[in-house]
Symmetry: C2
Subunit: 427 residues, 2 copies
């Protein structure tokens, strides 16, 4: 029986992983609301419908599969996101969505068969089931990331999200319309008549601690603290050959000093206590013989400790003041976003631990460095976040990989979690 279920999951997983496949690699390029995203959404909708779900989209393109078991009752919502970074792994997000669909199908079958799992075996459903594929978790094509779950939880205005443009000037609204994935209104909340009772998500770890510690199920108990900056460095356009060095106000030089300083900050703290990065940097006019007048860059500080973030921020500020003075450029923060170390509810961590024990799966508490849609959801409803291991922790890369055994263990575990939630746990 278990072998059959595992095989069914892995068969669907093989198809699921091919949308937006990058030739010659194990990875995908499936950014939000692209053609590949649209094709995968259409296939996934068919999969859900063939398993008895009703498929609907809300106004920001979150895709839901509803399975009503108890008319009028709230829903256990479970899912993740199917969009990817450009040239990235096929597991990040996509695994959690398909795992959620299979877990819900298994739980519905259990309920129909009068079977159950664990302590509440045989008990019936008190809430309904819904699978979700959140729109644009990655934020690579349209900023910010976690757009679908941010609109869903009221942290981002729908109109602002729909008006956001990609680098080619296409709005979210037009991109969603182009793939036929923009719904008319709310699917939950508002005047939809539906409410969310709880939320569960499984994801690959994007770190290597679980693999190293031999842990199959990560019980996510908190997010790292973070401070994210958008900087604009302003200098003055000039001839990059003939202008005297002392006359230059080179925005790219100023930006490069920030990138280097961010890396060097890391060494001022204990190993593992501070992660810094600049992944996006745009130069204007970006011409071979012109000193840049403007550079925009994103810079992140992340730590398990909010104190470390504060100290790193202060040090970064001192660098900014020095670069402004010495390189005669202006450095402005055009946007920033920070959060403290942020716990997931303890009752959910404990529930997930019990399920892992029951299934004989190794488990441990882990923090998440990366943000997830569950980071939004946990501020609204009881939320459980789960990890499965990621080989060498490689993430946002074509080389991302998780073993089949861990994928199917994660589906088993999520099934156990959903089975308890649908019977009223955490309500």
């Amino acid at each position: 029986m278990t072998q059959q279920l595992d095989d069914a999951f892995l068969a669907d997983w093989a198809v699921h992983s091919r949308f937006g496949a990058v030739p010659g690699t194990n990875g995908v390029d499936r950014q939000a609301a692209t053609e590949a995203d649209g094709e995968q959404r259409a296939w996934f909708a068919e999969l859900l419908e063939s398993n008895g779900f009703t498929v609907v989209r809300d106004a920001i393109g979150n895709q839901f599969g509803l399975l009503e078991l108890v008319p009028g009752a709230p829903y256990v919502l479970t899912g993740s996101h199917m969009d990817s970074q450009p040239t990235a792994g096929r597991f990040d997000g996509a695994y959690g969505v398909l795992a959620s669909a299979h877990a819900c199908v298994r739980v519905a079958e259990e309920l129909r068969a009068g079977r159950g799992s664990g302590e509440s075996a045989g008990a019936g459903a008190v809430v309904n089931l819904a699978v979700v594929n959140w729109f644009n978790e990655e934020g690579s094509r349209f900023k910010p990331s976690m757009m679908g779950s941010s609109v869903f939880t009221g942290k981002l205005a729908l109109a602002d999200a729909l008006a956001t443009t990609d680098p080619a000037g296409v709005t979210v609204a037009d991109a969603l319309d182009a793939i036929g994935e923009r719904g008319a209104g709310d699917v939950f909340g508002g005047d939809s008549g539906r409410e969310v009772a709880s939320y569960a998500e499984v994801h690959v770890q994007q770190g290597r601690s679980m693999e190293e510690d031999g842990v199959t199920i990560g019980l996510v108990n908190a997010t790292w603290a973070a401070h994210k900056f958008e900087f604009k460095v302003t200098g003055a356009q000039a001839h990059s050959g003939s202008t005297l060095m002392v006359d230059r106000r080179d925005a790219l030089l100023g930006a490069a000093r920030l990138v280097v300083a961010a890396r060097e900050l890391v060494d001022e703290f204990e190993p593992g206590m501070l992660h810094t990065a600049c992944g996006e940097l745009n130069v204007y006019p970006n011409s071979p013989v012109v000193v840049a007048s403007e550079v925009e860059l994103l810079l992140d500080l992340r730590s398990p400790s909010a104190d470390v973030i504060r100290e790193a921020h202060a040090a970064l500020q001192r660098t900014i003041e020095r670069v402004q003075r010495e390189d005669r450029v202006e450095i402005a923060v055009t946007a920033e976003h920070s959060w403290d170390q942020n716990p997931y509810p303890e009752a959910g961590v404990e529930l997930a631990r019990e399920v892992a024990e029951q299934l004989g799966l190794t488990h441990d508490r882990v923090m998440t460095v990366a943000g997830h849609d569950s980071t939004n959801m946990k501020d609204s409803v009881p939320t459980i976040m789960l990890f499965v291991p990621s080989v060498a922790g490689i993430s946002h890369s074509l080389d991302e990989f998780t073993k089949d055994a861990d994928l199917v263990a994660g589906v088993d575990h999520l099934t156990g979690v959903i089975s308890r939630l649908v019977r009223g746990s955490l309500l």
Copy 2:
């Protein structure tokens, strides 16, 4: 008479400066083969034709105005380029083209009136006159720079130039066709039956030494030495939050270290002996939460001394080796181009000095840091390169400025130079 000529030049100059005008500024955005470039070329062709020139284009879109005075004889060619960097000054290149047209018209008028200038007053033309507007000197939309004069002088293959694409994927051939400026074959050389006898170009200095020294006419006697690199820095895509710092191979960090190192190199030499720059840098995948896997950047070293270039290059190489080792990235040179300090012919410098003396214009020998189309031409024919001052040396900037008095002095001087060349000087 002189006042009338000056006024006529400045009137045309006012019109000439408005093609591609950037609203609210003194500058222009008139990159090669854009709509603005096409409009200016059409207007300029009319101006030439109304003054008796025959206007023709060659296969790479160099625009010529031919004034045949001595059937079958070679031509004195004079001009510069009308394309600009994005959001740049209106003087760079465009001044030299219009100055050349006015100088040729004046010399032709002198010849018709039996007047002359200086020692050879009254003598007749032994060669013909031609004005040139070189295609794509700037190289901002299509690389490399000095494309038109490079094809003209056989330094770049026509087919390669025509197949070059801009960032949107448009080829030079298609862009020239779109503005109707691609000719069928050669205008000089090949089987055209026409030869170039000599070349003269006037340009704004793009430096501030002439302004500071109170010099009106710069007699360009050499170019600086230069070494230009295109680097590709290769790392590995990774999650920019969750990936351990020790696991990262950050291409943008490696690139930023090169940008900073290039600036710091300058301080190892006497002031003014080394100019370094990085004006163009492109990041892949350039996404907020992804460590960059690839960065391409252009980096230039320039000096009046080839020894300084060699020392700077060796120091840069040591930095590259250190960055490769410490940041675990690969740094490859994907293209490079270097030249030694390169003299303009002494006879031309002397001829230009005599004309300045005769006209009572202050003058001095200057080197050019920037490349010009004359840098190509001087390797083929006797070539004279002239500068007029540039306020504060501001260049490749909307704030570039040269005073009217200097503009008209430059036209007067170029007229004197052309007047001698057309009568056989430097033959």
